[in-house]
């Protein structure tokens, strides 16, 4: 049990961050897992081309809620390009395809999600947030 539910994961699952509404939403993304109904909405607000605030509204299992929260922690204060690079790196990590030029350390606290890889069926729970993020930035001209 321990491996999956890393203390950090459990903490973010119970008390996720970035749960307050934004005053202005510059970009919004959504993703749903068809099989369990888990969902994530990511609202972003920008200043000077930088993600300066985030609102995460995630419903479902602990892995989804924790990964969404940890993702928000890590993408805050990045520009969308850097955010996308981070998300790509995270996806590569979770899909066990880290290419050489993608240093894992940029993931910061999100790297704890790696423990989920022991439970293949839960990987999609850990990646739902990335779809919502990608949906949010897909409309931006970056």
């Amino acid at each position: 049990m321990h491996e999956l539910y890393h203390k950090e994961i459990l903490k973010h699952a119970k008390t996720p961050e970035f749960t307050s509404q934004l005053k202005t939403i510059d970009s919004s993304g959504y993703a749903i897992n068809q099989f369990c109904g888990d969902e994530v909405r990511v609202n972003l607000s920008f200043r000077d081309g930088i993600i300066n605030d985030i609102h995460i509204d995630s419903k479902g299992c602990s892995i989804n809620i924790a990964s969404s929260s940890l993702m928000a922690v890590e993408i805050k204060d990045l520009d969308p390009n850097k955010g996308t690079l981070l998300i790509d790196t995270y996806k590569s990590l979770m899909n066990s395809k880290i290419p050489d030029h993608q240093p894992k350390r940029i993931l910061g606290s999100l790297a704890v999600m790696e423990s989920v890889k022991e439970f293949p069926i839960r990987i999609k729970c850990a990646l739902l947030c990335t779809q919502a993020f990608e949906d949010a930035v897909s409309g931006l001209h970056i």
């Binding site: 049990m1 321990h2 999956l4 539910y5 203390k7 459990l10 903490k11 119970k14 099989f35 369990c36 109904g37 888990d38 419903k59 479902g60 299992c61 602990s62 892995i63 439970f119 069926i121 839960r122 729970c125």
Partner: protein
């Protein structure tokens, strides 16, 4: 419990129960999804493929005759098992879903028209709901969804109100896969017939678990799946009254379902072949026959009694969990061996994953009953479901594991 019912002896017939999962003995509590197979059924497939395998019907050679005999005798076993009077009222399908679709495409589109109504319930599996949405939409008929009471039994008053002269079909599950409720289908059949409607009983969760007699229930259609009743995957049954089958157009077209064919037209074979286009799943049909032999030897009454005992025991144990909502009626005389639960604090997927770490297989999700979940205000449950080989000990393990999980998620400590 009857003397002949010896769960430990039964367990020895199921090779998969020897498996360990994550270092623990498998406790298979996902039977509403699909059941495990006894050695007899597996061996029946081996015997068939090693000795008799051939296409059926029309063949004059020995293998084809033998395969045809085995195949048709399996049909006879199903017919006896259901108390039907004629094996020709048993149509092979892939499963309950195809059986319901067969009725929709072949009977529904002909007999349900604009202004007519179809009655289903709020506890239907998607296969018995979305199929009728199709018919209702295309035929401009009305689809009436009967609500449930507080403990997820069918609201019989609403049902009575729903069944009026406009209704052409009542299509309802005998037992719910999601909340366990057993519906009074005999009474519902009578109500349907009073207004001249037909009744389809989705027996996917009843035929494997309790005696079901089509004559006694007086049902027009009965659909169920082999894989949930110890049989191989890929085989199921549509039973229908003979005169209804006779009156129905075929569903799919192809070999075996035709009598004579010209370039521009064809005539149909007699029932049940008329509905069985193409090479049938001979081996798995014979496997379903073997499963029925096994179930019959144990006795469907004994199986039902065993499941009631398990469910009573589990329901009582679950009383200790204040954090859990348990759905379905507490009276096990109207409940199948299905135990769905939900906690605000731990998501069903997390429960499922942690239980799997302890070797306990349960299902989590919407169980193909999204509208029911929505009506309960949740999106998923964790569901344990019991069968012939489950034990009190396994329920104890389930309860302990849930206890750990709840504690862990509230304190973070195992």
């Amino acid at each position: 419990m009857s003397k002949v019912f010896d769960v430990n002896k039964i367990r020895q017939d199921f090779p998969i129960l020897d498996r360990t999962i994550n270092g623990n003995n498998l406790a298979y509590l996902d039977n509403a999804s699909s059941s495990q197979k006894p050695r007899d059924v597996i061996q029946c497939l081996v015997d068939y493929y090693e000795n008799y395998n051939s296409n059926v019907h029309r063949g004059v050679h020995t293998l084809s005759m033998e395969a045809t005999d085995l195949y048709e005798s399996a049909r006879g076993k199903v017919s006896n098992f259901l108390g039907a009077t004629d094996p020709n009222t048993v149509v092979w399908t892939r499963g309950a879903t195809e059986a319901i679709n067969l009725v929709a495409f072949s009977w529904g589109f002909k007999n349900i028209g604009a202004g007519d109504a179809i009655v289903v319930s709020q506890m239907e599996h998607h296969s018995n709901l979305v199929t009728w949405q199709l018919v209702a939409t295309r035929q401009k008929a009305e689809l009436r969804v009967v609500p449930l009471t507080e403990n997820q039994t069918l609201d019989m008053e609403s049902l009575a109100d729903s069944i009026d002269e406009k209704v052409k079909l009542v299509s309802i599950c005998h037992a719910s896969n999601s909340v366990g409720s057993i519906n009074p289908v005999k009474e519902i059949a009578r109500k349907a017939h009073e207004v001249g409607a037909k009744i389809l009983i989705d027996g996917a969760q009843s035929v494997p678990h309790m005696p079901v007699n089509v004559i006694d229930l007086d049902c027009d259609f009965l659909a169920f799946s082999g894989h949930k009743m110890l049989a191989p995957m890929g085989i199921g049954v549509l039973y229908a009254k003979q005169e209804i089958l006779e009156s129905m157009e075929p569903f799919m077209r192809g070999g075996d379902m035709v009598l004579e064919v010209w370039n521009d037209k064809a005539t149909w074979n007699s029932i049940p072949n008329k509905f069985e286009a193409g090479t049938p799943n001979v081996a798995d049909a014979i496997g379903l026959g073997a499963a029925i032999d096994y179930l019959t030897e144990i006795g469907m009454d004994n199986i039902r009694a065993h499941e009631i005992e398990l469910t009573d025991y589990a329901l009582q144990k679950f009383n200790q969990f204040e954090e859990l909502d348990v759905y379905g009626p507490t009276d096990t005389s109207i409940r199948g061996g299905i135990l769905p639960f939900h906690s605000e604090y731990v998501h069903p997927h997390d429960i499922g994953t942690i239980l799997d770490q302890e070797g306990i297989a349960i299902r989590t999700g919407h169980h193909c009953t999204m509208p029911l979940m929505r009506s309960l205000g949740i999106s998923a449950t964790a569901r344990a479901s019991f069968y012939i080989y489950n034990t009190f000990d396994e329920i104890d393990r389930l309860v302990d594991a849930i206890e750990h999980t709840l504690r862990y998620f509230s304190t973070g400590k195992k």
